[in-house]
């Protein structure tokens, strides 16, 4: 068995994923069988950056100590539950005890103990040592349905109404969930659907049986959520991206909920004149020409990778240099490879996490635009105005990219500031000899090798920054030639200019 290496981990463990699902339920209290660090990182530190919550209010650790690692954590668990009861923290709530990597390490399975303490309470074996956050979320959603939903549902019962739709997936730790949820809800309601439950985001233990009332489920993410939709046994769709993807989704959903096709088409027509109007205007304008000239890389959840690839690549014609989705498939680059690619040649746009941002900084890739598109990384995405999904997502992404183009143009426009003329009689006394010669109006000859080297170097620079880079590299090489009194620019001078960072 060979050891696999992780660089700047992207996906967290199933304990985190499951806790981010269970943490949505206000009528559930979670005790995690964990050392203080697991509690703090999940419940206080990171969730503040991913979800802007001061802390997860319904999470308590057993605070495993050294003696518990040796003797087992049962004592710590009993003490924690007793304390929670004495403070009244469990009143009106169901109790759930979760294992963590450390408690699994010492095989602390408390299924029976928890059942003995409280027959209503449950123990969730997180499988934190072998499963990732996506599997953890899926297992938590299925666990909630199996334990708190299905037992009180009549399997033969029909949906509450044909147009009732659940949205499954949005939970804590999901990048940009509020904005995407808002857009998907808007689309469902736009064609006559009624949102039944947003699960687990707006769900609870008490409302879990109501999952069965919907006729159709919309699964927000490809990376998790579909197993719950399968278990519910109703037709389901994935949330859409792009102009054409969203249109197809609306027609499919319309058929599933029995909407009048005329109402669906009327909504689409109205959207073209409202939400999507900027897409059409920017497409007709000069801005869309740029899309064919730039490339991008996408590192994100599976939904975002597929959705952005469809929108940017298939619909707008941008070149997709490479992508890596979560959970990662074996044929997609891992972070070691992503880092190598970004260091070798950074695309004009990189959608990703803080990891990609760090690699871009390491490579000093100033001509690349980084766009946050996934966690990890501290970024607040709590408003409804930044969707990636649906019609509004298409318009928002296109608008953002155009603004980044403008930003790049501004940053790379030549700035010819008027410099104070040098004092008469040359440089001041005592200045080092051999100041660079002033730029000459005369064209300097270049050797063929030097020109080829320049062109090769420019190939590495994103398109929009290329004009500016060519100008500064050329200037640097020619100045060096003049300073040396060389008759022409040779390849070594170009190399020196590149090494000196004259490419931008």
């Amino acid at each position: 068995m060979s050891i696999q290496l992780i660089r700047d981990i992207s996906d967290t463990s199933s304990f985190w994923g499951a806790a981010w699902v269970f943490g949505c339920f206000p009528d559930l209290h979670i005790v995690c069988d964990a050392p203080i660090g697991c509690y703090n990182l999940l419940g206080v530190a990171v969730t503040d950056y991913t979800d802007a919550l001061p802390q997860m209010a319904n999470l308590t650790p057993t605070s495993i100590r050294e003696e518990d690692v040796i003797n087992g954590t049962a004592g710590a668990l009993v003490r924690t539950i007793d304390d929670l009861r004495s403070l009244g923290s469990l009143e009106g709530k169901r109790l759930l005890v979760m294992s963590t990597a450390e408690s699994e390490m010492i095989s602390a399975d408390h299924t029976r103990l928890v059942a003995r303490i409280d027959p209503q309470a449950r123990f969730f074996w997180s499988r934190s040592l072998e499963q990732d956050e996506w599997t953890g979320r899926d297992r938590a959603l299925l666990f909630a349905w199996e334990e708190y939903g299905r037992p009180s549902v009549d399997p033969a019962a029909a949906p509450g109404a044909p147009n009732l739709v659940n949205i499954i997936g949005p939970s804590l730790g999901c990048f940009n969930a509020p904005a995407d949820l808002y857009e998907v809800r808007r689309l469902i309601e736009g064609i006559g659907g009624t949102v039944n439950l947003v699960y687990p985001y707006e769900g609870s233990i008490a409302s879990t049986p109501r999952l069965a009332e919907a006729a159709v489920n919309v699964v927000l993410y490809r990376e998790f959520g579909a197993p719950l939709a399968e278990a519910l046994g109703r037709p389901y769709l994935f949330a859409p991206f792009g102009v054409f993807g969203t249109t197809a989704f609306l027609r499919d959903l319309g058929r599933l909920i029995g909407a009048d096709p005329a109402q669906v088409e009327a909504f689409i027509a109205r959207e073209k004149r409202t939400t999507l109007q900027p897409v059409w205007d920017l497409w007709r304008g000069p801005q869309s020409d740029w899309f064919a000239t730039v490339d991008c890389a996408i590192v994100a959840g599976r939904s975002y990778v597929e959705g952005l690839t469809a929108l940017l690549g298939d619909e707008l014609g941008m070149k997709i240099a490479w992508t890596s989705g979560r959970p990662r498939r074996p044929d997609e680059p891992d972070n070691i490879e992503i880092r190598r690619r970004i260091h070798a040649r950074a695309p004009a746009f990189v959608f990703g996490s803080i990891n990609e941002k760090i690699y871009l900084a390491e490579a000093n890739a100033r001509a690349t635009h980084y766009v946050p598109a996934t966690f990890p990384g501290p970024v607040v995405r709590r408003t409804t105005g930044t969707p990636f999904m649906g019609y509004a997502g298409a318009a928002h992404i296109i608008q953002e990219l155009v603004n980044r183009f403008y930003e790049m143009v501004f940053n790379f426009l030549p700035v010819e500031q008027v410099k104070a003329p040098a004092a008469p009689g040359g440089p001041p006394h005592g200045a080092p000899a051999g100041p660079p010669a002033p730029p000459s109006a005369e064209t300097m000859p270049w050797t063929k090798e030097a020109t080829e080297r320049l062109n090769a170097a420019l190939e590495q620079v994103p398109y929009l920054a290329r004009i500016s880079a060519s100008r500064s590299l050329r200037l640097a090489a020619e100045q060096a030639a003049r300073a040396r009194g060389a008759p022409e620019v040779t390849v070594d001078l170009v190399e020196a200019a590149i090494a000196h960072g004259g490419q931008g």
Binding site: I3, L5, R7, N40, A45, P54, D68
Partner: protein, 434 residues
Amino acid sequence: MAEIIPLTPGDASAPQEPFKPGACKLHPQTMCPAFGALRVLARIEGAQPAMVTDTGCLYGLTFVTHFYAARKSIVAPALGTAELSGGKVQEAANAAIAEAAREQHVSVIPVISLCVAETAGLAEELLPTEVDGKPVVLVRVPAYAIHSHPEAKDIALAAVLRRFVDRQSDHEPGALVLVGEVFPADPLLIDGVLRKMGARVLTTLPGRHVDELRLAGRGGAVAALHPFYRETVNVLRERGVGVVTGAPIGAAGSAAWLRAVGAALDLDEDVVERVAAEEEETARGFLAAQPLKGATILVSGYEGNEMLYARLLIEGGAHVPYVSTSIGQSALTAADEAWLKAHGAEAVIYRKAIEDDQAAMRHWSFDLVIGTTTLAAYAKERGIPSVYYTNILSVRPLFLAGGMIASLSFVRELMNRRPLYERMVEFFSADTAQ
């Protein structure tokens, strides 16, 4: 200074019953202890950390390290059930070390061994001490055994110091080593005053470079500005470096500290006395106005230096009945605790939980809460001006007269913001009361 808003009258907030800490300690208030170690180690120039742990831990610690410590790429082996139970931890650690060593300009490879790796067992003697001339240092920081973020900083610093400290050169006369993650201007302020006494700051640990660790061994004395660097101080003590405890905080504290430094470095007593008196006079001049008079303030953090801030606030005229920290009680905390208790602090809580802080909130009526994120949110929900200790106070000078003036003026301004806090809570609680 802004217009002063009347504060809670001192007598109205004085309770009759003695304070009782939280009956249950359910929610410990500390950053993951291991992060303290990562923060110190990741900030060293050229350090390439290799973390040995499970994926959930790795995710959380990498997240906060990228944000708070250093935007530095971090490697780790994938450790699942198969590796952990199959005796592969050693091999896994070695693979991560090899990958870390492939980077250019590596000054040190700290191997950070966390809960699950420590439980599975990682033998130091089976790790390389260096790879291609790049030093490898094992740092063991399981959260279940260390209990607080600051104490892990000490363990990490002591580990690299043991490896790099200069044990050969002579001690430089008049050279003081500072220990503590302090505001960058503080060592300069201290150095300025020390020079008037014929001494200087040699270096401040934890530093940004392994050379600073080497240099520390040449100090004539070491000042543990923060009271949790027990291991670090011991490493230097073994090397024959004299130890000064406490910090130059407030009027009396600064003068006493300067005298202690004078004695440890064997400086001219008359000169030291003159400089100490000068500092005390400047501080007393500012304190005469008692800028915080009438204010009741809660101090609760997890950085381990809370008692220093509490002393400062008290000297500024504030009533600070309650101070809590994540660190444990030790010889290094004794002097501050005694001073606080002699100056109106009724409770000094070590290894605190949010339940302790909330009990204090119920017991006293505070004008300002300087707390952990959880406590600050709790106070804001009650319309009380409140800030996160770590982000707001740690970014200001603290020491000697200059630091004191900067910190106290800021605190005074915070309290004047009360109407903003009250307006927010009125608006939002009206909405959520249903």
